[in-house]
Amino acid sequence: MLVTTSMAGVRRLLGAVGKSLKQGVSEASSNLPFMQTTYGFTKKLQSTYAAGFDDDRPQFPGTGSKVRFTEKLEFHLPDTSRTIPVYRVIDRQGEILDPTQKPGLTQDVVLDMYRKMVLLNTLDGIMLNVQRQGRITFYMTNYGEEAAHMGSAAALDPADVIFGQYREAGVFLWRGFTLDDMMNQCFSTHRDVHKGRMVPINYGSRDINFVSMSSPLATQMPQAASAAYAMRMSGKPLCVACYFGDGASSEGDAHAGFNFAATLDCPLIFFCRNNGYAISTPTSEQYRGDGIASRAIGYGISTIRVDGNDVFAVYNATKAAREVCIKESKPVLIEAMTYRIGDHSTSDDSTIYRSSEEVHHFKQDSPITRLQTYLTKNNLWDSDKETAYREEAKSKVLEAFHGAKDRKKPPISDLLTDVYDRMPAHLESQAADVIQRPIPRTRLHGGTQGCMMM
C-alpha cells in the first residue's frame, strides 16, 4: 500500500502558503494567541494598565492576568500523593474495564497489531543472536515496548512526520518498513538507503515519513518542534510525532523542544517511552519529580500518562492527542509507562544492575502477553494460531537475514560522498587517495567482531 510522501508536499505547500503570508497573518493560524500580539507584553497589560495600581492584583508581565496575591508564606510542594494517573483500557487479565474506551479498531487491525508485535519480538530474538555471532556490530531489542510502538503508530496518519530516538522499530514495521530494509541497514549492505554510514538499528525512510535516527539523545526534539511548525505553515491537517526515552528527557534539548513547541504553537506529539532505565540508571536517579508527564504542565503543554503495555490505551491517547495537536496547533505530551525487558543494547549486560526476578516479574505482563490474553478471551487467537504465526514470523526474518548476510557492502567511494551536496575540491583529492589504497581486511566482512561500547 503506497503512502503519500508528505515532505515533498509540505515543501510545495510551504511555498503556496508563504505567498499568502506576506500580508501578515495566515488563514490557518489566525486564531493563534501569539499571532495576535505584536509584543505580547504591551498588549496583554494594556487592560491592566487602564485600571492603574488601584486594582490590587499582581501586574507582572511574567505571570498571567488571573494570578492573585497571597499573604501566606507557603511553598508549593511536589505532591507525591497526587501523581498523574496511568490511563489504561485493558487490565492485566485482558478485560476492557470501561466499554466506552474500546478503540474503534476493526478486528483485522487489532490482529495486525498483534502479529506485528510478535514479528518484532521474533526479529529482536534472531538479531540479538546475529550480533552475538559477530555478523553485525550492534543491536538494540525492543522487548517490552511493542505496544507503545504499535499503538501510537496506528493512531497516526501515514503522512505525519516522525522523529525517533532508537527504540522505535515497531513504528517502522507498522508503517511498512520491511525486514529487508532493516537487514540492509543492520548489515550495512549496498542496499542500505543510508549507504552503510550508521551503526545498526538507526533506521530512516522518506517513503514512510520517518526521519533517519541518530545516536545523540533528544537532539530530535527541537527539530521535531520546527518540523511541526513547518507542517502548520503548510496548512496541512497533519502533525509531527517525536519519540524519546526517560533518560533523553533529561537532556537540555528536551527542555528546548518542549519550550519551543509550546511557545511557537507547534502541532507536535511528544511521545515519551518511560521504560524505567537509561542503560543502568533507573528513573529514581534520573528525576525527582513526577516522571516526564508532570513537566509538560510547567511548559504549558497538555499531558497524559498511559499504560505503555496496553496497546489500546496507547492508541486512544495518541489518537486524541493528534486531534488536539492539529485542531489547536499545539503540542501534547504522552508519557507511556512501560518496562525495558531486554538489555539496553548488545553492549550491555543488565544483570549487573538489576535482578532477574525484577525482569521476570515484568515479563509476565508484557504488552504481547496483555494483548494475547485479550485476543484469546475474545476468541480471536489461540495457541495453534500462535505457534503457526511464530513459525511464519521466524521464517520471514530468516529469509531477510539470509538475503542480507552475504550481500555486498556499498562502494568505497561512498566513504566520501554526501558530506556536502557536491564534493568540494579538498575531498576530491582525499577521495583519490582512498580509492587507490588496497582494501583493508576488516572483521566487518566476516569473523568475530568485538563489542562496540555505546
Binding site: 503570508l21 542500505d192 530512516g204 505553515m233 560522498t417
Partner: protein, 377 residues
C-alpha cells in the same frame, strides 16, 4: 541613540560600555578613533552588473539580504532571540512588519533550541535563517551543529538533509566586548565536515555571501564582524545578487608578500599593505579568504608560489586557529617556493580580555613587524 552619539562626539562619554545592547557600538566609534590601532574602513565598489546601489552599512546590507531572501522564497523564515523587534544589532529591522510574525519571530532564550529548530525546518524543506545573538553564545548549539546539522546528509545517505539552514552570528572584537562579546569561533566549525563557514569583510561582501549561504544547499554558519555593523559603509546593490562561496578574493595585488585574513582583519591588513609600501617599498598581495570551510587553497597557493612569503592574521587565539590550517597547507604545497617561515599574527592564547584588548589584538603594528620578519629572514 541620538543622545548617545552627541555625548560621544562631545567627548563626555568615555567610559567603556559593556552589555548585550549593541545600540552603543556606533557611538563608540568616535572614542575608538583616538586609539593607536583603531580601525578605518575603506569602502569598496560593487561590480556594475549587480545593478542599482544605495549607501548601506553592514547591518543594513545584511537586512537587505534577508529582505531579498524572504521576498523571493516564500518558505524562508528568520528566528532567534529578539529578532522580531529588529534585533540587538538592527539586522532584522522592519522584517517582521513586512513579512508577518510567523515568518520573522522570537524564540525562547535557548541556542541549542534555535539550532535544533533551524535544522527541523530545513529538513522539512523550508529556508531557515537562524540568528545566534553573539557568536560567543553559539556553544550550547555546538552539539546540534556538529552532531546533527553537519552530519544529516552524510549519515542518511542523502535521504535527508538540512541544507536550507543558515545560522548567522555577530563575531569579533568590538573594542569593549571582552570574553563573551568578542569571540571568533570559526576554527571550531572549520573542523566539522559537512558545514560551511563564511565571514564577510564589508557590506557588499556580506549581502552577496549571505545570499549565497541562504541559497546554498548545505548548512552554513555566517559570522558577521560586529565592529563593522556601523563602521563599514559603502554603496551596496539593492537587488538580489550572490558572491561565490569557497572562493578567496585577491583584494590587493602584490608580488613580495602574501597576506591572508578574513573579516575585520582584512581592513587591518589593507593598512599594513600601505605601510609596507611606504616604509619598506614592499608590495603585498592581500587575500580575503571569505569562506573558511571549504576554503580556496588554490588562490592562496598560487599567490605564495609567486611571492614566497606568507602572513596569516586573525583575532582568534593562535593555537589551533585557522591560520594553522592555512600555514600547514602552504608549507606542504609551496615548500620549495618559501623564502621564509609562515608568519601567523593572532590573538594570544588567552580568553579575550577586557582592559587588555589593545594589547591582545593582531593590530597593524604587530602585522607590520611580521612583514619585516618575512622580508629580512
Amino acid at each position: 541613540m541620538a543622545v548617545c552619539g552627541a555625548l560621544v562626539r562631545s567627548g563626555r562619554l568615555s567610559r567603556p560600555i559593556s552589555g548585550r545592547n549593541s545600540a552603543f557600538i556606533g557611538s563608540r566609534f568616535a572614542v575608538v578613533k583616538r586609539l593607536a590601532s583603531a580601525l578605518s574602513y575603506v569602502p569598496e565598489t560593487a561590480p556594475s552588473d549587480f545593478g542599482e546601489t544605495t549607501k548601506m552599512n553592514l547591518f543594513q546590507s545584511i537586512n537587505s539580504a534577508m529582505d531579498v531572501a524572504l521576498a523571493n522564497d516564500p518558505t524562508a523564515v528568520i528566528f532567534g532571540e529578539d529578532v522580531a523587534f529588529g534585533g540587538v544589532f538592527r539586522c532584522t529591522i522592519g522584517l517582521a512588519d513586512k513579512y508577518g510574525k510567523d515568518r520573522v519571530f522570537n524564540t525562547p532564550l535557548c541556542e541549542q533550541g534555535i539550532a535544533g529548530f533551524g535544522i527541523g525546518m530545513a529538513v522539512m524543506g523550508a529556508t531557515a535563517i537562524a540568528e545566534i545573538q553573539f557568536a560567543d553564545y553559539i556553544f550550547p548549539a555546538f552539539d546540534q551543529i556538529v552532531n546533527e546539522a553537519a552530519k544529516y546528509r552524510y549519515r542518511s545517505g542523502n535521504l535527508f538533509d538540512c541544507g536550507r539552514l543558515t545560522m548567522r552570528a555577530p563575531c569579533g572584537a568590538v573594542g569593549h566586548g571582552a570574553l563573551y562579546h568578542s569571540q571568533s569561533p570559526e576554527a571550531f566549525f572549520a573542523h566539522v565536515p559537512g558545514i560551511k563557514v563564511v565571514i564577510p569583510r564589508g557590506p557588499i561582501q556580506a549581502k552577496g555571501l549571505l545570499l549565497a549561504c541562504i541559497k546554498d544547499d548545505n548548512p552554513c554558519i555566517f559570522l558577521e564582524p560586529k565592529i563593522l555593523y556601523r563602521a563599514a559603509v559603502e554603496h551596496v546593490p539593492v537587488g538580489d545578487f550572490s558572491l561565490p562561496l569557497s572562493s578567496a578574493e585577491v583584494v590587493v595585488e602584490g608580488k613580495d608578500v602574501t597576506m591572508v585574513a578574513w573579516g575585520t582583519q582584512v581592513q587591518v591588513l589593507r593598512e599594513v599593505c600601505n605601510m609596507a609600501q611606504e616604509k619598506l617599498g614592499v608590495s603585498c598581495e592581500l587575500i580575503d579568504l571569505r569562506t573558511i570551510m571549504p576554503w580556496d587553497s588554490e588562490t592562496v597557493i598560487k599567490s605564495v608560489n609567486k611571492t614566497g612569503r606568507l602572513l596569516v592574521a586573525h583575532e582568534a587565539p593562535l593555537t589551533g586557529g585557522f591560520a594553522a590550517e592555512v600555514a600547514s597547507t602552504v608549507q606542504s604545497e609551496c615548500f620549495l617556493h618559501l623564502e621564509a617561515p609562515v608568519e601567523r599574527v593572532c590573538g594570544y592564547d588567552t580568553p579575550f580580555p577586557h582592559i587588555f584588548e589593545p594589547f591582545y589584538m593582531p593590530d597593524k603594528w604587530r602585522c607590520f613587524e611580521a612583514v619585516k620578519k618575512l622580508i629580512n629572514y
